[in-house]
Amino acid sequence: MAKIIKLNLNTNLGKILGQIEMTPESDIVLEVSKEVEDSGIIENIKLYASRIQKTITIKNTDSFGKIGFVSGEDVSTNPITIINVTPKPKFKFSFKKPNIAPDLFSKTAKVFTGNKLPFLIIPAVLSIFLGIFLYLLYYQFHKANVFIKIESQVFTASKNVFVQAVKEENNDLAVNGKTVTKTLTEKAEGVPSGEKEIGENATGAIKIFNKTEKETTIKLGTEVTIKNGNSDLIFVTEKEVKIPAKTTQEIEDEGEIKKADVFGSAIINIIATNFGETYNLNKSSIDEKDISVKNLKSSEFAYEMESNTKGGTSKKVTAVIQKDIDQLVEDLEKRLQKKLAEALKNEVSSTEKVLEGGVNITYSLPVVNAKVGDEVEKLEVSLTGNADTLSFNKQELKDTIVATIIKDLPSEYTANEDNFEIFETVKSVDLNPTTKKVSSLTLAVKVENKIVAKSNTDKIKEDLEGISFKEATDYLSKIDNISDIKIIQSPNIPFLVKNMPKNKNNIKVEIQVVK
């Protein structure tokens, strides 16, 4: 007879090889699912078996191997009932004549006649009563309670279930989704981490001399460049100024009247184009040639510092940088994500469920109390998140998936329909292209249940009739996934032979499923 070994993907290969080596049988049947067959370990097992002159036959249990069924569990294609044990022939108690030769019987009969008869009748009667008593004991009073504990096995399956705002009619795995929305606004504060320089611009005045015969107008904002060392400092005029043309005047020079040119001149106020102490200049250190005005030829105009330029200052202050705003926005988004997910869960009743992975959030533009470069002591950002998702009815989901999964359950097993455990994970979120709201969710749903092989107690009783306790125990231990066997005999008479009752109606079988 072949040895049957069951294996699944989690079975240790070395253990299997050890079992193959240890078993006395040379023919071994491996009960495996397709998954195990495809995993490549079967070739390794066959190779090893051939080294020790044993043959391996593979029994594919894939008739049970529908999607999700835990591979490799006890899935024999034979009905999961008891492997037959040929019970001992039933002992029929009868008042048959002893098999004594007739002449001897007649001699014996003579012995029972005459004076000795009364003494011999008593043992005979006693024997008869004893026989009746034993008959009653074995057939009527002898009872046995058989307690069996069977371990349930985990049955798991996974399916994709679709939660849809508009449920598809012909899709067995679609459930109704209800749109749930929530809007929250959160605020965050931070301290700016940037730095900038601010200050005052220096002001002063220059005098321009017009050597031409034409009046010249210097417009407001005209650039005045003053060279200080290696730096060209740019100032601008603060208002429009007209510079008169040169005139000719008669002057007395050593007794003679001579004509002389008198240049036109004007004083112009200037302001530095940038802040800082650099622009504070001492007029005594600036030469005429260090000053130039845009669009004026140096041959036609001359310049001098009318006064020192002063008032230029600079200092570093804390200012807002983009990273400050981005960091606060990032923190707000994280906070909003969590809070919105919780809020959505609270929006639905206890019969509905919302999954965090199925939440779609859009954020408004953040509202900030300052922009980049601003000098503020505290940066405040507020952000509004609009979240939407689809909730689903927990019972509807369970019913939908259980209805599908039940079809995959092998006929020899039974599941407790109330004990399906459901685990959902969001696989993908689809948005309506127009409304940009969640229109469907694809959930990866895993179900688990503890299943038990169906047992035929009538068959068990029939097969246990009259056999010894040891045989009964061996017989019962062949039940799949059995974890404990207890046989309690009554009456509990010490000398009573440890056999099962002859009458199957006196055998009570109790099966307890252990989780």
Partner: protein, 406 residues
């Protein structure tokens, strides 16, 4: 050294566009490539997850935290969508960042060869204009077509699955028979390109992407651990070696020529299988079985069992190596890595592999993190043997980030 596959008509193939995969979204998230200097590594094996956090320090990398999640008779590779697994990993990541508050979310995931389909092909192309210089664009076009062809060949063998390209490398090129790593600018009538590609099951890839979204990290790449290990080794240009990665339930094998992975495969057998066999057959407990496998027993029967089993294990490895059809001669330098590499009886391994066709007498060495010159273990030491691939994955990821930045 290699057997060639000659395809003269490749140049006439239509241009096949490799579709890009939309990542499965578990929740709305911005995909930002953060070219920072810290990186998370998650190594997924059947009964164990190893998580490491690494930082770049000049030319070296340092480990600044590591966590391990182990569970017997469990399969993490198939449990990436289990909420308990996700929560446990998130907690471990939180533990790591509690001590070192990095802003980086860069993650590389290392997986075993079991979930990868590796493929090597060599194609010879007859160029229409042999006097024209070979350009980078020409090579890129050929490579794209070759990869598409590889994908079709893989799918022809494995029906009802869809696969995605994970990574590809040119192992070598030949121009008119002359081997070169840089054929650009050369002229020639025939161009031979040898390519190694790694494909991954598309559903599994989706699962991994969903998983990384669930744990709140940015996935930079997924790589098989031996592929990343080879990429991370420095100064291995033009080196030829075999890589045997011994773990608890899987042994990964790689054959490297001229610094490039040429062939990769695995055996569903590891150290735990050896242990369980000895325990089952001789009724030993775990520590007795470990000693027995190390040869520390005087029981002749146990020693005999141990030797027979190792014979079998190495026979499995040898069969896998023989399946590398395009490899006529194996490199003699054998490097052994992995959590259980320290238990290897090197001489026994060499004896068992000696029937294969090696270039020279094979030599085996066991590597650990001390052999990785780019790893600075002065800050935090890691388990030397079990974390060697974790460190290599970190190096590989940082290389990718450096390239992206440049």
């Amino acid at each position: 050294m290699f057997s060639d596959k000659i395809v003269i008509t490749m140049i006439n193939l239509p241009k096949i566009k490799i579709p890009s995969r939309k990542s499965a979204k578990a929740e709305p998230q911005k995909q930002v490539i953060n070219a920072g200097e810290d990186v998370f590594v998650l190594e997924i094996e059947k009964e164990e997850l190893k998580i490491g956090l690494y930082t770049k320090k000049g030319d070296s990398i340092q480990n600044i935290g590591n966590e391990v999640i182990s569970r017997d008779n469990y399969n993490f590779e198939n449990s990436l969508s289990v909420p308990e697994t996700i929560e446990e990993i998130k907690l471990k990541i939180k533990n790591l960042t509690a001590l070192y508050p990095t802003k980086s979310k860069n993650l590389i995931i290392g997986i075993t060869q079991r979930n990868i389909i590796s493929y090597t092909t060599t194609v010879r192309i007859k160029r229409i204009n042999s006097e024209n210089k070979i350009t980078q664009k020409e090579i890129d076009d050929f490579v794209e077509k070759i990869i598409a062809n590889c994908k079709n060949e893989v799918l022809a063998d494995k029906a009802n699955i869809s696969i995605e390209l994970l990574n590809s490398d040119i192992i070598f090129t030949k121009v008119d028979g002359y081997i070169t790593k840089e054929p650009q600018g050369m002229r020639g009538g025939t161009l031979e390109i040898s390519i190694f590609v790694n494909f991954i099951n598309a559903d599994y890839l989706d699962e991994v992407i969903t998983f990384t979204n669930n744990i709140g990290l940015n996935l930079i790449t997924i790589a098989s651990s031996i592929y990343a290990f080879n990429k991370a080794l420095e100064n291995n240009i033009d080196s030829n070696y075999m890589l045997i990665d011994i773990n608890e339930n899987t042994t990964n094998i790689g054959i490297i020529f001229a610094g490039e992975l040429f062939y990769a495969t695995y055996v569903s057998f590891g150290f735990n299988d050896l242990l369980e066999f000895i325990k089952t057959k001789h009724g030993l407990n775990t520590s007795e079985a470990v000693n027995a496998l190390a040869g520390k027993t005087i029981d002749e029967n146990i020693l005999k069992s141990k030797n027979n089993l190792y014979d079998f294990y190495y026979e499995l490895l040898s069969i896998r190596m023989q399946n590398a059809k395009k490899v006529k001669v194996l490199p003699e330098n054998i490097k052994i890595i992995g959590k259980k590499s320290i238990n290897t009886d090197k001489q026994l391994l060499i004896n068992n592999l000696s029937s294969l066709n090696f270039k020279d007498e094979p030599v085996a060495s066991v590597l650990n993190t001390d052999n990785l010159t780019f790893f600075d273990n002065t800050v935090l030491k890691v388990p030397k043997y079990s974390f060697i691939k974790n460190v290599a994955l970190a190096k590989f990821c940082l290389k990718i980030l450096d390239n992206k930045e440049n």
